[in-house]
Symmetry: C2
Subunit: 129 residues, 2 copies
Amino acid sequence: MKSNQSENNLPEPTKAELEILQILWEFGPSTVRFVNDKLNEQKEVIYTSTLKQMQILTEKGILKRDESQMKHIYIPVEAEEKTKVQLLDRFVTTLYKGSASQLMMQLLGNEKTSKAEIEEIKKLLNSMK
Amino acid sequence: MKSNQSENNLPEPTKAELEILQILWEFGPSTVRFVNDKLNEQKEVIYTSTLKQMQILTEKGILKRDESQMKHIYIPVEAEEKTKVQLLDRFVTTLYKGSASQLMMQLLGNEKTSKAEIEEIKKLLNSMK
DNA sequence: TGTTTCGTACGAAAACTATCGTACCTTTGG
DNA sequence: CCAAAGGTACGATAGTTTTCGTACGAAACA
């Protein structure tokens, strides 16, 4: 078996799992069919593959589901924010030794971060003080 | 759109690969022996496992090596900054649809980001305008 | 009612990642 | 010269993640 994180931390979702989570976050609780259709807008996936993934996510405790209907409805256990914060935290720790400001610097230096984004960030910060 | 990184993008390093990369970033070009010793300060790893990983990293084009000596010297192909920027970019794209300011908000809201860090970030931003 | 359609369950193959043992070569020192 | 120490190469195994085929039940409908 595996190191099941006892306290608060759910196991890190894998890449494929994240794709599914994002759809559920965006559109709310959904059926496998719906999620699979959305996935197929990006790339071809076979229905039962998606189904299996969502079943695994449920086993892992990342999703729960309403089985009261034939078409099960899947729901993320944790809110989008919480999960993202966890992932972000792990990311900062791993790549930046926990230094958020270091990460920031890269974000600001990154050409892909637009002027508008930078303005947005400044506003944000000023509103905080 | 399945951006297979034919141009500039190297394949995403795996977790174990990242650990090795970080040692090379920190200490500069190194032998397998050196990297393995560093790794073993954190956890037990057998020499040939590290060797294999570094060989794989080389195959993938993430590392290159100087074979002119018996003890090969491994060197990251891309600079630390560049690789991190790539990873960060991917992270922002995947989780925040490319919105750096959204990521920022979470960073600032995260209790693990200390007051000092936040001050640091503010200074940074002000010095930019 | 029977057949087609749409759903879930589940095992197993396929693909990737990580670990390790063994073979074999080179250098070093007695 | 020989053995020990320390290198690389590489195949095999283990572990995980992802994909997919098949079985089978429920609903829809001709």
